[in-house]
């Protein structure tokens, strides 16, 4: 009799503990997942270019966290990002897959041939990071400092007046001088 009682009691306790721990796990898993997505997103270049086949950096980060995407899908981030992702996610490091596009050697930014621009605002709507300014029927221009080089503005342009050009900082900082005290 007492054997059964003991068994029953222990099973009940075990069940209770299992329930409690699975609840705690589900709670913390959700939080851990969010934290992981945030950490992955921090490593991504935030170009929002969609070359990874996802619609932006955050969706790609989510896919990485869920294990449905690979770490080598981000050409703008390059091998550096792939390496950081490998380290964060404990996966084997690999180089960026060329199928997702070439890695830019230098950072490129969009440039609008302003005389040709008809002011259709299509590129403004396409820019994921609000780096193009201009009004309807007025000339548009790219804020080069804020352009991430995603190239999303190029296809919508009806007059094909947008080019990618190497980014040139507006002024040479003092750091180009040999550092002195």
């Amino acid at each position: 009799m007492s054997v059964w009682l003991a068994l029953l009691l222990m099973s009940a306790l075990a069940a209770l503990a299992a329930l409690a721990s699975s609840f705690a796990a589900s709670q913390s898993r959700a939080r851990a997942r969010d934290a992981l997505i945030g950490a992955i997103n921090d490593l991504l270049p935030q170009t929002q270019c969609g070359r990874c086949t996802y619609s932006g950096c955050l969706p790609y980060a989510t896919a990485l966290a869920e294990g449905t995407a690979d770490i080598n899908q981000c050409p703008p981030g390059g091998d550096t990002t792939a390496r950081s992702l490998a380290r964060l996610l404990n996966r084997e490091a690999k180089e960026v897959d060329a199928r997702f596009g070439a890695m830019p050697a230098t950072s490129m930014v969009a440039w609008i041939d302003e005389p040709a621009c008809i002011g259709c605002t299509k590129c403004i709507q396409a820019c994921p990071v609000d780096a193009i300014v201009g009004g309807a029927r007025f000339m548009h221009t790219v804020i080069a400092d804020q352009c991430t080089g995603c190239e999303l503005c190029i296809p919508p342009c009806p007059v094909d007046c947008i080019d990618m050009r190497p980014f040139a900082p507006r002024f040479e900082a003092a750091s180009s001088m040999r550092p002195q005290r």
Binding site: P45, Q46, V129, D130, A131, T148, A174, P179, R181
Partner: protein, 486 residues
């Protein structure tokens, strides 16, 4: 009393100053041809305001500042602008940079348009500050940061302490010591003008221990100053105690925050030479057209301090010191720890030229063959920034940017202390310098990414909000339509 609060690391190095301090400061003859690089100050290059062929006079402005951080440039001799073209420059280690070249007419005529401001005490501080800004004065300690820009920064904090740096931390350099010995009154006058311009109630002049002659004259000049708020402080003869951030830690026990400025903690630091230059401007209306240069080393016959016009070729200063000895081996601008090695003496004095070392093999200690790091920790013991150079070295070798960031590569001030004590003879500073651009690029990309993400998220929110508003409007219209047509 010698202040050492809050300082870490550093080295006690042999000073080698006796050689160049035996004779008083001598006047170097004005050059036949002055070469004036347009980027000889930190920040943006100055823009020429004279044309080739134009006649200029001593002290005439020939290039004006561009952007926030920049400085005026003045003709250091009278004559004709021969050309404006790239010329080898000392501060660029002999690489070419756009320079104005003036051929002397031998008359040394002064430009008459400048005015002095001897009554600065009665003027509005901002007027004095603006006046100082026109003198083209930059930090004469070696960094050549535009003095006026720095002083403007001081206006942000209510009561700044003015710190005048008379502590040459590097071996060989003695121009500041000679200046304090011979022109202490200029320093005090300059200090008063600067203090008035930025509204500083306190002024501290830092001077190295062991330079008793300079200390005595300075104390005497300070005691005769009208305002009694200038204090002389002695700092230990530890390299690099004369570095701005290290000096502040040594004297005040406070640290300038990373990526911040001394004004963030209510201190503005200027070299004593800068103060003397301000005095010359305030008193004699002479802009920065000359500076004191130490010419020293075993490779020059008569080491001494020279007051040289900006733009004077190095070769001419060497000649003024009776030329090279047969032991001459290497030419340095600056000290032996951070100086720039120059391939040729065919470059000219710039505002940052505090010292020219004609070094013989006796002055230099060649490196032995490089060995692997044995993690002895000598480097971290002497690092004034409290870094672990051995770990930075490891991470630099592995190109580990995250590691480099964690161990603070960007906080390295390139003083060379770690390099000096490394038993494995690893050229650490060279390695760190090479690794910095890569890390800077990485950090820049990350901060750009952060901004881009913020804009992306804001944009998405905005789009959602607009869509919701439109939906609402549509709903509203449908409702109205329904009520109108029952």
């Amino acid at each position: 009393m010698i202040a050492t609060v809050g300082a870490h690391g550093g080295l006690r190095l042999e000073g080698h100053k006796e050689r160049s301090t035996e004779t008083p400061i001598a006047l170097a003859p004005p050059p036949e041809c002055a070469i004036l690089p347009l980027d000889q100050h930190a920040g943006m290059r100055a823009e020429p305001v004279v044309k080739v062929g134009e006649r200029v006079m001593l002290g005439q402005p020939i290039a004006r500042p561009q952007g926030e951080i920049s400085a005026w440039l003045h003709a250091s001799i009278s004559g004709r602008v021969a050309t404006i073209e790239p010329r080898p420059a000392a501060h660029r280690a002999g690489d070419s940079t756009l320079s104005i070249v003036i051929e002397s007419d031998g008359r040394d005529e002064r430009w008459p348009a400048h005015t002095s401001m001897q009554d600065f005490r009665e003027r509005d501080p901002i007027v004095v500050l603006e006046h100082i800004a026109r003198a083209g004065i930059v930090g004469l300690g070696g960094a050549a940061f535009p003095a006026a820009t720095k002083l403007m920064g001081a206006l942000r904090s209510k009561d700044c302490t003015l710190l005048l740096n008379g502590a040459e931390c590097e071996p060989y350099i003695s121009c500041d010591e000679m200046l304090m010995r011979e022109r202490a009154h200029d320093i005090v006058l300059g200090a008063e003008a600067i203090a008035h311009a930025i509204g500083a109630s306190q002024c501290v002049v830092a001077i190295e221990e062991g330079s008793s002659l300079a200390e005595a004259t300075l104390r005497e000049a300070v005691s005769r100053a009208s305002a009694g708020s200038i204090r002389v402080a002695i700092v230990p003869n530890v390299y690099p105690a004369g570095g701005e951030r290290q000096l502040i830690a040594t004297l005040f026990g406070r640290e300038v925050p990373f990526a911040g400025l001394p004004t963030d903690i209510g201190i503005v630091c200027q070299n004593v030479g800068t103060a003397a230059a301000v005095a010359k401007w305030i008193q004699d209306a002479q802009p920065l057209v000359s500076r004191i240069v130490t010419v020293t080393g075993d490779g020059v016959r008569r080491p001494r301090n020279l007051e040289a016009r900006i733009g004077t070729p190095f070769s001419q200063l060497i000649a003024a010191c009776d030329g090279y000895t047969e032991r001459m081996h290497q030419l340095l601008m600056g000290g032996t720890m951070m100086g720039i090695a120059l391939p040729s003496d065919d470059v000219s004095v710039v505002k940052a030229t505090n010292c020219i070392i004609a070094a013989s093999a006796l002055d230099l200690q060649p490196r032995a063959a490089e060995m692997p790091c044995i993690r002895c920790g000598n480097c971290s013991e002497v690092c004034p920034a409290r870094l672990l150079p051995q770990q930075i070295h490891l991470n630099a070798r592995a190109s580990d940017l995250e590691g480099l960031e964690r161990y603070g590569l960007m906080d390295c001030i390139e003083c060379g202390c770690c390099d000096y004590v490394c038993p494995s003879q690893i050229p650490l500073v060279e390695r760190f310098r090479a690794a910095k651009p890569e890390l800077a690029k990485h950090l820049m990309a990350r901060s750009n990414a952060r901004d881009a993400r913020l804009r992306y998220e804001t944009r998405n929110e905005r789009l959602e909000r607009l869509e919701a508003e439109q939906r609402q409007k549509l709903e509203e219209k449908r409702r109205q339509a329904r009520t109108r047509s029952p």
